[in-house]
Symmetry: D2
Amino acid sequence: MSAIAIVYFSASGHTHLMAEAIAVGVQQAGHKAELLRITGDQITDGRWQDNAMMATLTAADGIVFGSPTYMGGVAGQFKAFIDAASEAWFAQLWKDKIAAGFTHSSSLSGDKQGTLIYLAVNAAQHAMLWLNVGDMPSQYVGKDDGVNRLGSFMGVMGQSPLAMDGADAQLDAGDRLTCVNFGQRLAEAAERWG
Amino acid sequence: MSAIAIVYFSASGHTHLMAEAIAVGVQQAGHKAELLRITGDQITDGRWQDNAMMATLTAADGIVFGSPTYMGGVAGQFKAFIDAASEAWFAQLWKDKIAAGFTHSSSLSGDKQGTLIYLAVNAAQHAMLWLNVGDMPSQYVGKDDGVNRLGSFMGVMGQSPLAMDGADAQLDAGDRLTCVNFGQRLAEAAERWG
Amino acid sequence: MSAIAIVYFSASGHTHLMAEAIAVGVQQAGHKAELLRITGDQITDGRWQDNAMMATLTAADGIVFGSPTYMGGVAGQFKAFIDAASEAWFAQLWKDKIAAGFTHSSSLSGDKQGTLIYLAVNAAQHAMLWLNVGDMPSQYVGKDDGVNRLGSFMGVMGQSPLAMDGADAQLDAGDRLTCVNFGQRLAEAAERWG
Amino acid sequence: MSAIAIVYFSASGHTHLMAEAIAVGVQQAGHKAELLRITGDQITDGRWQDNAMMATLTAADGIVFGSPTYMGGVAGQFKAFIDAASEAWFAQLWKDKIAAGFTHSSSLSGDKQGTLIYLAVNAAQHAMLWLNVGDMPSQYVGKDDGVNRLGSFMGVMGQSPLAMDGADAQLDAGDRLTCVNFGQRLAEAAERWG
């Protein structure tokens, strides 16, 4: 059984719902998902620290990185976490783990691709193996289930109109299914990679 | 009066319609637009050549670069043109001209942002000044005219479902208006830059 | 006289030296440079705040954004500042200002291009005008002054070997000259843009 | 035994030398390397075609994509090949193969990172698994063999001063060793992935 860590930041709640849906997919494939949510109070004087969370990440078989797209990139809080992981980087502790990414914003396109590319660049520094999305956009393959409706390949994208944050946040049904499918793909890839 | 060259490749016809709409905006602002369409038959043994087109580009006050997003980047035919412009680059003939970009694909998001970033990277090598989109997404500012409906900032994005190419190609009304607005913005920026 | 704000984060001191060199160039061109250094203690519970600094930025004619490249992107502290500027973004307060970027790392290439691209993406959201580097790599034009020795176009890159941080930090002479030249270019562009 | 296809374009000869060095690494690991060189004469009226080469790619266990960095991106000739592979993409024939990338330019930094990112974006559309570089920069780990001397993570970078093309082209010794190591890593990853 593989352990997939899902480390993410979420303010409005949408990225959190994506993380949960990916976890569902991992579990449906018979593997273990660990949800690790980055929060602002882990940051002191601009530096993020949470040793227990870092240990869980280093023990995992695969790591999925998730952040809303803020101003064309990952949230500042998530970047603080990434910078703190430079210790793991210098020792190459995450080398050859499976890595992947997901993001959310309120625009149909927006600058979400840039966020996914950045997550892949960060994983490249860690010498991880990057897993891309396995589902073609549903409209290309004659389906209407909304899977990969936005047409994203380097990671999973979610999109919701402005408003309804927090407890009321909702995820598009197609985006949710894309996340579940990707969780399954991720767990199976980690298992196959061994 | 400023002269804006719109150099682009289009196979399905959608990028061509975007180019025409940008030209309309340039003209509405009282300036001159020159449509320069890259074609496959300008390429011999992998190399693009059209000296007259290159001279028009070098004489222009601003250059807008446009290509459909194919496999996450500009069309190969358009890249052949860009490579041929390395002569203009080495002599820095386009230095300090206004530059901008636009792209089209069939996905809502797809990898269009990557294409626009690439067009900006190419313009950076030419030491041009990059003009970004001036319109916020309409839904953010309480409008429903579809302007910047996809949420793009580094250049103009257009999106159309698969099918209906060539003579039947149609452009989303909001995307068309985004192009017209951007043409005006571009001409005014070239005039202000002087 | 134009006012150029140079907003940056620096931990090891190298990015600070780049900021100072850009300021020298701005002043040599007869314009006003304002050095605004982002620090970790401006961040509380993951959020950056400094109203006076934000007011200075909004009043400037041009803004240069600078950050070391950490894990392939801007420093977390700098991203916290960028996220806080989403208020200025929503009101488009920085629209049509001149923007530019610079970064530093210890590798010759590293992932510095990604950082510069990100800074340009952020400026695009603000609808700013992006100014690219004006100097060709010195080795291409038969010079040996080290100007643009790394071959960067979308912004200025600096590189220094690991070690010697803080008070002992030193900048490569060619990189410093690249910064001074770019400061001049920036001030002149802001003046021309008017 | 795994089969690794190395598909690349090279004009000056440097990228060709990188391809050969990667092939050496693949063979040293006991696996099969197939060198597939894209040429301009495969392009007619702007479109690339070589059915035999495409069949070899589809039969391979892993594909490494290589191109010099021209004007901040892959060579136009290589993009023509990538566009022709959209048929393989639409049928997802390369799904779940191992993918990787390499590039060369005459600048220390230049825009090589952008080229590698683009190669990864293209592989993402094919739903391939992206393998990153496994060697830390030698100077970070107290070695002086020049391995990963430029500090690249998403793929292998080579750099050579202008001049001496074709038969006289030479590769930096550290860059060559980086390629050989990466060839081994690639073959072993393809074997492990199975």
